[in-house]
Symmetry: C2
Subunit: 177 residues, 2 copies
């Protein structure tokens, strides 16, 4: 098992589609079906992304989710923090203060300042966070865009349009029924 | 909950005591009692540290664990890898190949090279690993050593000696019984 959950992977992929289709709102169901992943799992991610201010939701037939700001201003760190919550690399339990030699009379020096192990872990965590903050959704979308032929984004737009039209048709049928 | 388990914290603390008491072997029970932590939990860490070549075990009345090499040649990354095993930051499930638009006919470009999300995660993981590899047990022992009075290491050595002597006395009593 990895340190980051599958939710981070699914969340970033979903947001990349929203970056590609920036003029259209997409439902979490559309995003799940487009990617061939579990709709119920994807549905649970979006309240977190909305709460973090990464996406905005709209209602109605053409409603769904859109990016709340430019993809160039959404970093991988923003998405990881939104999905995973405040999860540190290391949880210091201050073991240093429990040493049997102190025999219950903890000297001041023993727990003065941040534990040296914790400090080293905080440096490693910061290095990881800085690296995640250095990559935006736009950077990743550019990399994918350089690989994909122009026909691909047209095919995606057509697929998304088909979904919205099908929804409209179903509502119309129900309205007439 | 943190990304790294409590085993990493306990493991590093134990190894620091072995670095301090480098002329003496210590049992996992001694190390647990010295730190006021669970002996059964600490006992489970040492086979991992031994397998990774960080400690060596010896038998007998004065047996136990010692560092397998100088504390200056054991990094925090060595300990994290030994305790946590091969746990990546991110587990790429290659979602990019499942896009509904491909309709089962996956084009070559779609999964060519490493996924751009995965590549960014690998960079973040590498930044974290490099930071952990830059700190050795000797660095941490030096930081602690600058804070602790000389009497502290003498008190620890006396505590450890007392444990070994008590073990010898018990064996002697049993031998006479």
């Amino acid at each position: 098992m990895a340190h980051l959950t599958a939710g981070v992977e699914y969340g970033i992929h979903c947001l990349l589609w929203l970056a590609l289709e920036r003029d259209t709102s997409l439902s979490s169901r559309d995003l799940a079906d487009l990617q061939g992943v579990s709709p119920s799992f994807v549905a649970k991610l979006f309240p977190k992304l909305e709460k973090a201010g990464i996406v905005v939701a709209s209602n109605g037939l053409r409603g769904g989710y859109r990016l709340a700001r430019s993809a160039a201003r959404i970093t991988l760190l923003d998405v990881v923090d939104a999905i995973e919550g405040p999860k540190p690399l290391f949880d210091c339990q201050e073991i240093r203060g429990r040493c049997a030699v102190f025999d219950g009379a903890l000297p001041r020096w023993a727990t003065n300042g941040v534990c040296a192990i914790h400090a080293a872990m905080l440096r490693a965590e910061q290095a990881m966070r800085e690296s995640l903050a250095a990559t935006t959704l736009a950077d990743i979308a550019d990399t994918v865009g350089r690989k994909a032929p122009a026909s691909f984004s047209q095919a995606v737009t057509a697929w998304v349009g088909g979904r919205t039209d099908a929804r409209s048709a179903r509502r119309g049928t129900r309205g007439r029924g």
